[in-house]
Amino acid sequence: MLKDITLGQYFPGDTPVHNLDPRTKLLLTVAYIVALFMVGSWGGYALVFAALAGVMALSHIRPRALLKGLKPLVFIIVFTAVLNLFFTSGEDVLFSWRFIKVTYTGLERAIFMVLRVLLLVSGTFLLTYTTSPLAITDALEKLLSPLKKLHVPVYELSLMMCIALRFIPTLIEETDRIISAQKARGADLETGTLPERAKALLPLLIPLFISSFRRADELALAMECRCYNGGQGRTRMKQLHMSGRDAVAFALGGLLVAGILILRKLGI
């Protein structure tokens, strides 16, 4: 049952978007998020939506995949909308009933807020859909490498992230096994009050913890046997290369930001 959990949700592919340098994608995603907060008009949102749709078409990510990812966020989106709808003060009242008052400003703000959350999350999803977790880790390491001068262990952090990603499926499998083992001994994990069920989790967590420590021990030994001794003097098999494609992507990203700023000035 736990095997169905997907993390990182990477859809491998061979499209212009997939083949961009992960650093480009990471930087452009950050720029996209910042730019999104400068949008304040219908025209601006239309432009961002068009850009997002364009990237989606280029990357062959189906809208259904994106909608599936957005599903768990429905509650937050509805909550944001309701909050903005009812608690924005203004003179242009659309209708009021007892203490509830909906203004035109409130309605517009609620719609903008929902659009902003949707576009923000969709943009970051596109990054993780088209870039493997390992590539993102690599890009982060490269982008943060100036911090090495300040003695930030950038390489070690990225290795930790890489190992964590590697062991998630292994530990999920292990959890499944422990659940079966405890159930076979008569453990009841599904019924009872909340505190009871929380207590029933202990016999799962303790073996999982102990086995994780054992695994960590063995992994450390295996890594030492493969000559691991820190990030110093290490080389990488896969070098990241910026190409003409990345220059085009940066140019398009710049155009999008410029467009947003112009529309904001014009107030369209």
Partner: protein, 278 residues
């Protein structure tokens, strides 16, 4: 021929252990040989393996790898590069979540040039027959495949000696066959010195030399054809003999006169055929 590893009268005692795990072991491993180490649990065979690449250092005596003393910290990386080690659980040896990135881990640590790493990774994966799986996620592979990836990860260091500590203990029969076939090919075709620690007598039967350990000492040492016929002595050490030897010994007890040194299934079959056709 000069031995690649020389072990001179080493002893080792684990902290808080009542007795020594190794008690005066002297051993020479010939370049390109295939040695199997047998022994019941607690006989010291894993402890011996851990001395071969300086994971453990002997309390007395010394271990020389290509003439380098393992006790000298300066030699650590050169020794570990020469003596690769594969453990029992493949899951706990794989670092990356793509097969080829994992195999690249060791040469990356050694600071090899990127295009050289690519060549080594492809070569190592081909040697264990896992090249087609280079882009796969390790957790989706079978046990035997994972263990072969782990072996490739060590081969990418281009080691002279490959030490395998019960590499098939967690595998199904098919995975076991895959791993042992890959290891045997590395020794026979590539000239890599193999030290295989195992509980499976049929795996040991394929080696050039069998070492039997008991309570921290080497108690038997010879070709499989010399060691395995001593069935009574092996049983006294809580070990069994390969099914082939068992069969030949029983046939001989029933009145046949078969050569007892036919330990591989092929040699055993040939010996029986010859006896029947005579």
């Amino acid at each position: 021929m000069d031995p690649v590893i020389r072990i001179e009268n080493i002893t080792y005692t684990y902290p808080d252990a009542p007795g020594p795990a190794l008690d005066g072991v002297t051993l020479r491993l010939q370049r390109g040989s295939f040695t199997a180490v047998l022994g019941s649990n607690g006989s010291g065979k894993s402890t011996l393996a851990k001395h071969l690449n300086a994971i453990l250092l002997p309390a007395s005596g010394q271990v020389l790898v290509d003439g380098m003393d393992t006790a000298d910290g300066e030699n650590l990386i050169s020794i570990r590069r020469r003596v690769g080690m594969v453990f029992q659980n493949p899951d706990n040896q794989i670092v990356a979540n793509v097969v080829e990135d994992d195999v690249a881990f060791a040469p990356e640590n050694l600071g090899v040039e990127p295009d050289q790493i690519r060549r080594r990774v492809d070569g190592a994966l081909k040697q264990v027959g896992m090249y087609e799986f280079r882009m796969h996620a390790p957790h989706l592979l079978s046990g035997g495949q994972k263990q072969r990836v782990a072996i490739a990860g060590v081969l990418a260091m281009e080691p002279e000696v490959l030490v395998l500590d019960e590499p098939t203990a967690m595998l199904d029969p098919r995975g076991r066959r895959e791993v042992i076939a890959a290891v045997e090919a590395l020794c026979r075709d590539r000239g890599i010195t193999v030290v295989l620690i195992t509980h499976h007598m049929d795996e040991a039967a394929r080696a050039d030399r069998v070492i039997v350990m008991d309570r921290g000492r080497i108690v038997m040492d010879g070709a499989p054809g010399q060691v395995f016929p001593q069935a009574e002595a092996l049983r006294a050490l809580r070990l069994t003999v390969p099914e082939t030897t068992e069969l030949i010994l029983r046939l001989n007890a029933a009145g046949m006169a078969l050569p007892t040194d036919a330990v591989t299934p092929e040699a055993c079959a040939a010996a029986i055929k010859e006896a029947l056709c005579r």
